[in-house]
């Protein structure tokens, strides 16, 4: 075996975000796969230190452009735990509604790109159109299509109006029809089956041993959905199923996500029909002398974990474990002994979000001056330009 490593990335048409996979090949077959990370680090954990709670809430939403609400919800939950505060029921319902809408749009985007990876362009176009329906709801309800910024400690910024509720229900009707159709296509289409079945298999034992989270674990028969295991927000009041598949291949992961969308539509209808009629509290500043708390929320990609320490009303440390960080370890194992053509499908079936995962290096000095990349390399790595 030679020691040449073929790099895929950091910039490659099949990657939506920059990362690098180095492959050692024997002909067409991958023998060793290595991951090289760190291309999208933003320094968020370092940036959060010393910030006030409201400022930190603003920053954590910028971690990800797809699941921005789940980050703010996770952080907010840990703050509310420190305050021993139980939010009013209507606030909880609105938070859950936004989270479920976000799940639908994230899964549609993921599925669109999954179909794009093996050349099913019609589905790609249809799914991105369907995602637009959700983005329009966000725009109407929160004013922001991507960063909704609706969470505040103890409350939410916007209430749901009558016209919003009507609009959401209309959109859910369209989406349910579309996604039922797609489920039928996925079940019957021969090319989809041939391309995805028996690719990137993760067994239940492996999922358990590698502590996997999110739809990936559920596609392998391991149910660890936080919404059911440790219910938060409005989930204790809802009746819903968690989708579990057993085969553990890329096809199972597609099926789980598609079924989850239909389940989310069911949840959204329940939330709207049972929405409590009460006043939402006005946002106020919160003060915490000292506190430590953890929180878990089920983001579209899986469990988001927050570990927050606050001292003198300022953030002392926030540890954020995003779902991609918990599963990316398994990627090199899945790639071994597979043909090189399977790389995009296997990588994409894990739905990685590198932007979420890499956000750690601190790039400021004691004068709190943010350094650009060149200055950073010059200062910390001794490189001169």
């Amino acid at each position: 075996m030679h020691d040449f490593y073929l790099p895929i990335g950091p910039i490659n048409p099949s990657l939506k975000e920059p990362t690098c996979i180095k492959l050692n090949l024997d002909g067409n077959i991958i023998k060793i796969a290595k991951l090289q990370l760190g291309y999208t680090h933003k320094g968020i954990e370092g940036l959060l230190e010393g910030k006030k709670i409201e400022q930190a809430l603003y920053i954590v939403q910028r971690i990800c452009g797809i699941c921005s609400f789940c980050h703010s919800n996770g952080f907010n939950q840990s703050i509310e735990k420190m305050l021993n505060y139980d939010a009013p029921k209507r606030v909880k319902f609105i938070r859950t509604l936004i989270a479920e809408l976000e799940r639908i749009q994230s899964h549609s985007l993921w599925m669109g790109f999954m179909f794009h990876e093996f050349g099913f362009e019609t589905m790609f176009q249809s799914l991105l159109r369907d995602r637009e329906y959700i983005l329009e709801i966000f725009e109407k309800v929160t004013g922001g299509r991507i960063h909704h910024a609706i969470n505040k400690p103890k409350t939410v910024r916007y209430d749901l109006r009558e016209q919003d509720i009507k609009f959401i229900l209309e959109r859910m009707k369209i989406l349910e029809k579309e996604f039922t159709k797609y489920l039928d296509i996925v079940k019957k289409d021969k090319i989809t089956k041939k391309r995805l079945e028996n690719v990137g298999i993760i067994s239940k034992q492996m999922a358990k041993r590698y502590c996997l989270v999110r739809p990936i674990a559920r596609a392998s028969g391991l149910n660890n959905d936080i919404r059911q295991k440790h219910p938060y927000d409005a989930y204790p009041y809802l009746d819903f199923d968690v989708m579990v598949n057993r085969t553990g291949d890329a096809y199972a992961r597609l099926g789980v996500r598609l079924m989850e969308i239909l389940e989310s539509i069911k949840i959204i209808r329940q939330l709207i029909h049972n929405l409590p009629d009460e006043k939402i509290p006005d946002p106020k500043l919160v003060f915490i002398k000292e506190g430590v708390a953890t929180s878990q929320v089920e983001a579209p990609r899986g469990e988001n974990f927050y570990f927050t320490i606050v001292k003198e009303n300022r953030i002392d440390r926030v540890k954020i474990r995003t779902p991609t960080f918990a599963v990316i370890n398994i990627l090199p194992i899945l790639l071994e002994n597979r043909p090189i053509g399977d790389v995009p499908v296997i990588l994409h079936s894990l739905d990685p979000c590198f932007s979420c995962m890499e956000r750690i290096i601190i790039v400021k000095d004691n004068k709190t001056e943010v350094l650009n990349e060149d200055a950073f390399l010059h200062k910390y790595c001794g490189l001169h330009h």
Partner: protein, 117 residues
């Protein structure tokens, strides 16, 4: 959160007892005088957190990658940003997020003015 402050000499015994639980995350924290490592496990009703305190100069703690393969990345990350040595992890010195030729002090240690002077 169920926080347990534990002694480093019970490390193996405590980890062995949690072998079948799901490891959620490992978090390093700079507490000024010393460093702490928090291990978060998923428990029946809540998150179980184990806290181990280490000395700030030459911090060392045994690895758990053989019990929990998912700890590999968490340990590397904590090593990169806090300089904590995870004894027994064969790949601990490969950089995860930092550039390979990074020479500075671990970036998430709390700053003291004189070190930048």
């Amino acid at each position: 959160m169920k926080l347990k402050k534990l002694n480093l000499k019970d490390f193996r015994k405590e980890m062995e007892a949690r072998k079948n639980k799901r490891l959620i995350a490992i978090a390093g924290v700079d507490e000024g005088k010393n460093l702490s490592v928090y291990y978060h496990f998923d428990d029946e009703d809540d998150v179980e957190t184990l806290k181990f305190t280490l000395a700030k100069d030459n911090p060392k703690i045994p690895t758990i990658v053989f019990e929990f393969p998912s700890a590999e990345l968490y340990e590397k990350e904590t090593h990169d940003f806090f300089g904590i040595e995870f004894e027994g992890n064969p790949n601990i010195h490969e950089k995860l997020f930092l550039p390979e030729n990074f020479k500075g002090r671990p970036p998430l240690l709390k700053k003291r003015g004189d070190e930048y002077a």
